[in-house]
Structures are given as C-alpha cells and as structure tokens.
C-alpha cells in the first residue's frame, strides 16, 4: 500500500459547497476565464510536466526566443545574437526594455542562473533535456550572455524557447520544487500572477509595464474538474474559453453561434505504459500477452472518434510507420505467450509459483474519458484471467507515484508533443520522461541518429525504424490519438492559438 495523501478539509468541502457558486461568478469586462480539468499544483516552468502548466507558464514567463504567428523563431527576451565562426558559441544581447513583474530589469545573470539551475542535477528539472546541448553559459555584461555549445549548432535560437527565471527570486544557485516561488512566481511575461486561490483557480492580471501591453485585463484559470459542466459553463457565459472540448460536446458547441471552435491538435497519443522495472512486466512475453488481450478499437469506441496507433507518433506524422501491423486481440496467442513465460491458467486466473498475475492500472484523475477506458480494460482483461485494480491519482499522488517513484504496474496516460514530435525523452535510455524504464541500445542508436542527421529522409527513416522497434519491444501499448478542439466565446477577438502552447499570442487577444 502506498500512503494516501491528505487533501485539506477545505478542498474537500469545495465540491459540495462551491458548485452552485461556480456558475454565478461575474467577470470583469476584459477578463478571460478559461477552464482546465486540473489546476497546476505549482507554477514553476522548471518543473512543468503537464499541458495545463505549460499554458499558464506561457502567460507569465518569457524565453529568449519564441514563435511568431507563422511559427518562425523571433527574439523575445533576446534582442539580437551573434553566432561564432565555428558555431559553437553564441553571444546574445538582451533587450533593454524587459522587466520582471517586481520591476527589476531582466539581466544576463537571470539567463545564466536559469540555464545552470536547469542543468544542475540537484534541481531535478523535468526540462533538463532542453539545455543538455548547452555546455556553459556566462554573463559577459548585464545585457549579454555567452552560450557555449556541446556541438556546433546551425540555428541555436530554435532551441532557446525555454522560460527564463529571475535569479533574485531564489536563494543561492539552486531551484527546488518546494521554493516559495511555486505560488508567488515572478515572470517577465504579459501577465503576472495575482492570486493562487484556494479553489484551484489562478488569477493573472495584465502586467502594465510590459513592452507589449496585452489586450486582456485579466486571465483567470479555473479548475472545473467536473467535465460535464465545462461546456455548459461556456454556453451560459460563466467561462470564455475551454482549452479542450470533450468530443461529445463538439456538436452542440459548433451549433452555438456564441461560441467558436479552434482546432487545438497538439500531437497527442494515449498509451498504456508498463513498468519495465517491475516483475513480471520486465518479461516481453508477459507484455506481449497483455497487448494481445487488449482490443484497442473496443476501448476507443465509447470515448469518441480518433485513430488507433501502432507506435509513438500520430498517424499523420512523417515518422509514423504505416508498415507496422497492429496487434490484434488474440486470446489464444496471449495464452501461449503466458504459458511460455511460465504461467498456468487455474480457474479464473493465471498463476506462476502460486502467485496470480494481477495488474494495477494508474490513471490521472483529470484525464478525460479515462474512466471509460479503464472500466473497459478491466473487463477485457478480467475476462481473460487477469484481475485489474484501478487507481485514479490526483496531481500530487501522480507526481510522486509516476514521476518520482516509478511506482505503478501499468499507467493509462497521454503524451502531447509539439510539432517536432521529439520522443527522445520518452524512449531514450537517458530520457528524462522515460519512466517506463525502457532500455534498448537499438532505440538509443536510432534516436541519436534522428537527432544528429542532417538529411530529413534519413531522420524520417530512423524514426520510422524506431516506431517498429518500440512496437516490437512493447514498453507501451499504443492506443490512439483523439481529435481535439478548444472553444471560445465569440466575444474574445483576434484569437490565434499556438498549436502547442496555446497562449503564445494572447497579448493580441481582447474582449469585445
């Protein structure tokens, strides 16, 4: 048994007492209220793991570079940069009109501090992989930074999108998850965090001193964990935006003339990930058997339309290997594999050495439609002799069980990727998001090749080979990708959504 986290009593009461109040909140004229299934537990971009965090960070923080509306790299905190002859060094001049929300200027020290903190193993940043390629960072003077790279870089600015933190908000040179910064963050973005509320909502006000004054006065993130209500709150004007619409609400929202839908296809896929470091899931035959017991199409049917997958890419991805044939549900083949792995079927269950084969499936509480999937999965596996217990974990429990302790048998989860669909962190043996514990020299080689290759067709082929490789090794059962949309009240004007970070161009948005 793992210890049960103790939610605060006030939090417990909230759903009972607070529900009616939800619909009654009045908005300021230039306030945008958007719903998330789950509020970020902390606001610190160095520890971002979820999309909801990434979205909030986009409003509050800035990186050296960012995307313009045509997704071309443009300087943000940077003003200009010079790349050395050998392409191993870059000197970035910071813009002089950027200030932190407490009024202090953004300096070279902040950039150096952020990069060092991210690289520092003691920080255990979830974003560490994003600065691996930087060998060192030094402040030349208060407004210029020199970065030295591990290898020559063709366009280093394309990798300098990570958010910069203010050095003066931290003690010493380290950053920790538990720093008070988590609830009182100081950024340099167009909005500053005004309050981190008990009910899970986060209120962000326009940072008036920002060089690029935002059109919206306030952006409020509200946690609406009951997804049944999200669409209703939008239609009854208690919210201005939903970042992700449930598939079943799409029709009614599209028919509503006061709401507009925007495609928000982060390249996401669902998967069931085995814990390869735990017996018996280290045995490929057991994983193979379980994979063949699962009818993925039947799992998908109740939750909406989408494409089933055979590997870690979306079907339309250039890296998707269409030649890989999906596993088909095949009870006999699964049984044969389990017998080969030393299990015998006795009565309703499979046992080995007297121990029955059971599975504990962990899913994040806020993962939409996870309930249907898990119920369905439970039924499919139980029918074939594997009893399944289910754990729905909240944010804190999830972080500790999945990200830190790797304490699970099988997780149902979803990865979202930006347009680069870089799965290195998930499948490389050194990857910071590889919590299945997948280790394969061949996969590592293919991922390295894909990273280093300068030929797009070679890179494409390497990742298609990787697709086939992980399909064979089965650290995960790849499930599907779902269509996803966000919805916004028509009163919100000039909306252009970043395909991944959502709020990148929110300074242009305004309310009618």
């Amino acid at each position: 048994m793992h210890p049960r986290p103790l939610p605060s009593p006030a939090l417990l009461l909230l759903p009972l007492l607070g529900l009616p109040a939800l619909g009654l909140g009045m908005a300021w004229a230039d306030e945008l209220r958007y719903a998330e299934d789950q509020a970020p537990a902390i606001v610190n971009p160095l520890f971002a793991t979820t999309m909801s965090e990434a979205r909030v960070h986009e409003l509050i923080f800035e990186g050296l570079y960012t995307d313009d509306k045509d997704l071309a790299t443009r300087p943000d905190l940077a003003e200009s940069a010079q790349l050395s002859e050998d392409r191993r060094e870059m000197t970035i001049l910071l813009r002089s009109d950027a200030t932190w929300h407490d009024g202090r200027p953004v300096t070279a020290d902040d950039v150096v501090f952020t990069i060092r903190a991210m690289k520092d193993a003691a920080t255990a940043s979830t974003e560490q992989g994003r600065v691996d390629w930087i060998e060192s960072a030094t402040a030349v003077d208060p407004t210029s930074v020199r970065l030295r790279f591990v290898r020559p870089e063709a366009r280093p600015e394309d990798k300098l999108f990570f958010k910069i933190l203010p050095a003066h908000a931290f003690e010493g040179a380290t950053v920790k998850r538990t720093d008070p910064f988590r609830s009182r963050p100081i950024g340099s973005g167009p909005f500053r965090l005004e309050s981190f509320n008990e009910d899970g909502s986060i209120r962000m006000g326009r940072y008036e001193e920002h060089r690029d004054r935002a059109g919206l006065g306030t952006v409020t993130m509200r946690e609406v964990s009951d997804k049944n209500y999200q669409a209703k709150l939008l239609m009854y004007e208690s919210l201005e935006a939903l970042v992700r619409v449930l598939p079943r609400d799409l029709a009614v929202l599209q028919a509503n003339r006061k709401v507009e839908l925007y495609p928000y296809q982060t390249n996401s896929w669902w998967y069931l990930g085995f814990n390869l470091e735990r017996k018996p899931f280290d045995d490929a035959r057991v994983r193979g058997a379980i994979s063949r017991m699962i009818d993925v199409e039947a799992l998908l049917a109740p939750i909406g339309t989408g494409d089933t997958l055979t590997g870690p890419f979306v079907r339309s991805s250039p890296f998707y290997n269409h030649k890989v044939a999906p596993y088909v549900a095949d009870e006999a083949a699964a049984a044969a594999l389990l017998q080969e792995a030393g299990y015998t079927r006795s009565g309703d269950s499979w046992t080995k050495g007297g121990k029955p084969l059971t599975l504990r499936v962990s899913a994040h509480k806020s993962l939409e439609s996870a309930q249907e999937v898990v119920i369905n999965l439970q039924s499919q596996l139980q029918g074939q002799g594997i009893p399944v217990t289910v754990d729905f974990l909240d944010e804190a429990a999830w972080r500790s069980a999945i990200w830190r302790q790797q304490d699970y048998d099988l997780i149902l989860s979803q990865w979202s990727f930006d347009r680069n669909e870089d799965v290195r962190e998930q499948f490389h043996s050194q990857g910071s998001r590889n919590f299945t514990g997948y280790q394969s020299a061949e996969a590592d080689r293919l991922l390295d090749l894909a990273r280093d290759s300068l030929d797009p067709q070679e890179k494409k082929q390497a990742l298609r080979d990787l697709h086939a490789r992980v399909h064979d090794d089965m650290p995960m059962v790849f499930l599907w990708t779902l269509d996803s949309y966000s919805a916004m009240a028509v009163d919100v004007r000039n909306v252009v959504i970043h395909p991944f970070y959502f709020f990148t161009w929110a300074t242009d948005w305004s309310m009618q």
Binding site: K69, A154, F161, R257, R419, N420, K460
Partner: protein
C-alpha cells in the same frame, strides 16, 4: 425565487440579433436550394435520371468513388469538374511545398542542389502557371522544364522529352498537361516515388496539375455533349448558389474548370462586410458571422415554406450548411490567392464539420482539407498541413506522395528545433 426563474428564462432565450438587408433573402430564393425545397420532384427526377449512387457519393465528398459510380452523361461531367477543382487545389499545394522543400534543404545541405530537387520544385511552380527563373538550373533540366509552360499554353511536348533525372511519369504528366493524354500510365498512378538515379525518394510534382487539366477538359467535353441539359446538374451540391452565379462563372476566361471563386451576384446582394486587405482572421470571422445571420433566418423560412418532402431534403441532406461550406471554401481560396492565409484558415475552420472531423462528408468536401493544408503551409504550420491531408488519403491515395513531400519539409524545418512534450 420566481424572479430568478424569470431571469433565467429570459437569459437563456434566443437573443435578438441584427439581420441583414431585407432584399438579401430574395436573392437567396433564386438558388438551387429553393428549387429543391419547393419542387423536390425535379430534384428526384434529375438524380434518378443521371445516376443516384453517384450523386449520393458526390454529396458525401467521395469523388473517386462517385466518378466510378456515375454513368456517362451530366453526372460524369459534373464529377470531372469537381475533380478538376480538387486537383487544382492540390497542385497549388504542391507548388507551395516543393519550392519550400528545395530551398530549406539546399540551405542546410548545398550538395542537394546538385540533385533533382531544384528542378522538381521549379516544375511544380511552372505547372500552376507561375513564372520561374530557370537560369540557375542545369541546361538539361531547363530543356524539359520549358516544356511545361509550353504544354499548358497548348503546345504538344516533344516526343523524346526526357531529362537526366526524370523518368516517364513526369513526361507523361507534361503530355497530360498539354492535352495529348487523359490519364497517366498505370505505373505512374500509384503513390510510387519517381525512379531517380540519385539518393532520396521524390515524387512526381506535376501529377495534380496534370490531373486538373485533364479533368477540366473532360468536364468541358461533358457539358458540351449534353449542353442543354438541366442547369440543376451543375448547381446541385455545387459551389454556385443560383443560375446567375453560374453564368457569371462561365464568363471567366479560365472556364468552369478553374477553381471557383464565389463572388457571384447572389453573395453580392447580401452586402456582407468585406474581410479587408490585411490578413486579420477576426475580420474573416465577422464576415462569416454576417453570412450565418442571413442564412440562419433564411433556412428557417425555407423550412416553413417548403413542401414536406422538400423540408425533409433540406434537413436530411444539410443543404444549407453544405452550401455555406462551399461559400466559405471559395472565400478561403480567394484569401489564399490574395495572400491572406490566416483569414483562409479562419474560413476553413468555420466551414469544417468537427463532428466528423477526420472524414470526408457533406460539409467536409475534399477541397476543404487540401486548402486547409495549403493555408497551414503558408502560416508556417507545416506539421499541421499533414493532419489536414490525412483524411484525404483513403479516397485519394495519390495524395500520399504530397504528404511525404510535406513530411520531408516538416522534418527539415524542425531539424534545429528541440521538441517539447507534456502530459495530457
């Protein structure tokens, strides 16, 4: 309590919205939808006479299957028109993707300039009639590339047309462009890469332009052979609202086969706001909203005035939403032609039927996806263009070649970037 209930009742009721000019619905009344709704028999007669199955498939946006299902006659001519438009849109997409791929790749690896890629990119542009400076290319390439504008201008290509990197498929496509063939040889019809003697796999950049030209001619011939047939055959489920719009389109020097732009008399009568010269999506959305206000009221009025069979057709076939989609599609085309890709994106988003987001359907014609891919490319969303092409692949497997090309471009553009991934 009672007050609260009253407030709720009032608050939830339909809000009064301004409607468009009074004269507008009259213009809409002249359209084919009104004809179907008030005289469903004429519709049924036409459909039964010319091939019911084909019309059903056309309505569903399944052009390839519809082309097979229609017998010779007005239906076949009509489907050729639709295929010509789609091929035209895809040809534009190819002409966007190929040069971008060539430029990006050459910038990264100058050696690639020695291969076939620059010539293929130039070919894709030439096929859409764009002027291209060929002087930087090897002389061999210049020779066969020059045959493309010549073919589109009506000159038959030389019989021995062959470049060092070009096999028979490209030659066949040029022949098709010039009108000396109506289809590619079977070996070229599949989504096979060109057989080139350099490394890398490239596809025929001319395929869609060639198909557009051939289908356009076929449509011309078809409507010529049955010239005095029912005008409804050209209007039904089509891009023109009323016979007057069709007549206006016939005046276009490029002919009906050119991708239709919807700026006929009917829409002009609606006096909708202009989207402006700047590429602001908000203006496009306002324009669509104005159109919606006109159409919503008009559709209600139609449903009330209709004969019961007509009313059933109106709702079952989603005639108005479908026609609205066609209007938005033509606006998107226009916006793309005038270099306003963000506005085009807005039109296409609003036209898209999200209930069956990744399927062809009455409200999701194939051109919607082709144009969405083009708009995505133009706005830097190369990866998203692939998402848009995906729904076309089942019905139009030859699009796979274009998807591979755009995929290469997406990979190239992301090569220096670092991916980000998050849960959920």
């Amino acid at each position: 309590m009672l007050g609260g209930l009253l407030w709720l009742a009032v608050g939830c009721g339909p809000a009064a919205e301004p409607t468009v000019a009074d004269g507008a619905p009259a213009a809409l009344d002249a359209g084919w939808i009104s004809q179907v709704v008030t005289a469903p028999a004429s519709f049924t007669a036409l459909v039964d006479r010319t091939g019911r199955e084909g019309w059903v498939l056309l309505h569903q946006g399944r052009l390839t299957q519809a082309a097979r299902a229609f017998p010779d006659g007005p239906g076949r001519a009509r489907i050729a028109l639709e295929q010509a438009w789609l091929s035209q849109d895809l040809a534009w997409l190819a002409a966007e993707a190929w040069p971008r791929l060539a430029d990006a790749w050459v910038a990264r690896d100058p050696a690639i300039a020695q291969g076939p890629l620059p010539a293929l990119a130039a070919a894709s542009l030439l096929a859409t009639g764009a002027p291209v400076d060929l002087s930087a290319l090897p002389a061999d390439d210049q020779a066969w590339l020059a045959a493309i504008p010549a073919a589109t201008a009506g000159q038959a290509p030389p019989a021995d047309l062959r470049g060092p990197d070009v096999d028979g498929c490209v030659a066949a496509a040029i022949a098709m462009l010039g009108g000396s063939a109506d289809d590619l040889p079977p070996a070229c019809a599949a989504d096979a890469p060109l057989r080139l003697d350099t490394a890398g796999s490239f596809y025929d950049p001319l395929r869609f332009a060639a198909r557009a030209a051939a289908a356009g001619r076929q449509a011309q011939r078809g409507s010529g052979s049955d010239g005095d047939s029912d005008p409804l055959a050209l209007l039904l489920f089509g891009p023109w609202w009323a016979p007057a719009d069709l007549d206006a389109a016939r005046q276009d020097p490029a002919g009906l086969g050119a991708a239709p732009a919807m700026d006929g008399p009917t829409l002009r009568a609606l006096a909708l706001p202009e989207a402006g010269a700047e590429d602001l999506p908000q203006a496009a959305r306002e324009r669509v909203r104005a159109l919606d206000r006109a159409l919503d009221d008009w559709e209600r009025a139609q449903a009330q005035a209709a004969d019961p069979d007509g009313a059933a057709l109106l709702t079952d076939l989603a005639l108005v939403p479908q026609a609205r989609g066609r209007v938005l599609l033509s606006w998107a085309r226009q916006a793309l032609a005038q270099d306003r890709p963000h506005q085009a994106t807005a039109y296409l988003m609003l036209a898209h039927d999200v209930e069956q987001a990744r399927e062809l359907g009455p409200r999701n014609p194939p051109s919607l996806f082709a144009l969405a891919a083009l708009a995505a490319l133009r706005t830097g969303r190369t990866r998203e263009a692939l998402d848009h092409l995906d729904p076309l692949l089942a019905e139009h497997p030859e699009v796979r070649a274009l998807a591979e090309t755009i995929g290469d471009l997406a990979v190239l553009e992301g090569m220096d970037r670092q991916g980000d991934s998050k849960e959920n």
